[in-house]
Symmetry: C2
Subunit: 160 residues, 2 copies
């Protein structure tokens, strides 16, 4: 009773939620991936049964996150959005950035512990290092992914 397309879009919505984001953003991304070609806000509202406001807001959110790009063909009144070749590459990058931010904050805090709390300082510092190493690792991974993307790597660092 449910088509693969519906299943996928639904799954993408759930996945987005499990990552702490808006469900609709995931659904839009799923829709754009399935379609494979630019789609307008009107088409999204129609296909996903969502309001114009949600379509607009979440589509722009996806652009900000680097999963989607806005295309504006000449002679076309409506804006259209299109999924990038590797929509979640930027998401993984952002994940690494978050780890690094946390690591830096923790390191800075650890430096503030006085000698009388050397143990705590050591533990906090180790905690920070753990995060920084993980950030480095994720960076290396996105690096590699970007290479594999190869031909499609035209969208490396255009947003933000």
């Amino acid at each position: 009773m449910t088509s693969p397309t519906e299943d996928f879009i639904e799954q993408m919505g759930l996945m987005a939620q499990s990552e702490g984001g808006p469900r609709i953003a995931g659904q839009i991304l799923g829709y754009l991936i399935v379609e494979g070609e630019p789609r307008t806000l009107a088409q999204m509202t129609e296909a996903l049964k969502i309001s114009k406001a949600s379509a607009s807001t979440n589509a722009r959110l996806l652009v900000l996150k680097g999963s989607v790009r806005r295309v504006s063909p000449v002679g076309q009144r409506q804006d259209a959005y299109e999924a990038l070749d590797f929509p979640n590459l930027a998401v993984i990058r952002a994940l690494g950035d978050r780890f690094r931010d946390h690591a830096d904050k923790m390191t800075e805090i650890s430096a503030g512990f006085p000698e009388s709390h050397a143990g705590a300082r050591e533990r906090v510092s180790r905690f920070a290092d753990f995060h920084r190493k993980t950030a480095d690792f994720i960076d290396a991974w996105t690096e590699k992914l970007a290479e594999d993307a190869g031909l499609a790597a035209t969208d490396r660092e255009d947003t933000r």
Copy 2:
């Protein structure tokens, strides 16, 4: 004004929230890391100004996530909790598991696309592969981290 300890605990709370979890869970973990030794629920409620219910619920959540363990010294009425040496190792593992789960779901869905939607099937499939590869990479990383954890654990004297 604010001590490094307070800063760290606050930061851990914010970090937990940014990952979509309860703020208090992060604070408890921060508290346990700073203390470096088992602490009871009563001590948590006192130190963090939280309710008994929150302390109990979130401490057990941390155990579930694998960041903390419960210790029950003999002749001690109160349960106590202690941060693991690498509290977030399990968290990263869970991250990898989530990627793999998503990948599997997507792959299964992609198989359902009929020949008439071969393009969509291909795109969904590639999306799934991307996640699976990322899951594999994260697994490899946790593998490596676990080694380090093993080394660090051996130069400490406490064992379980």
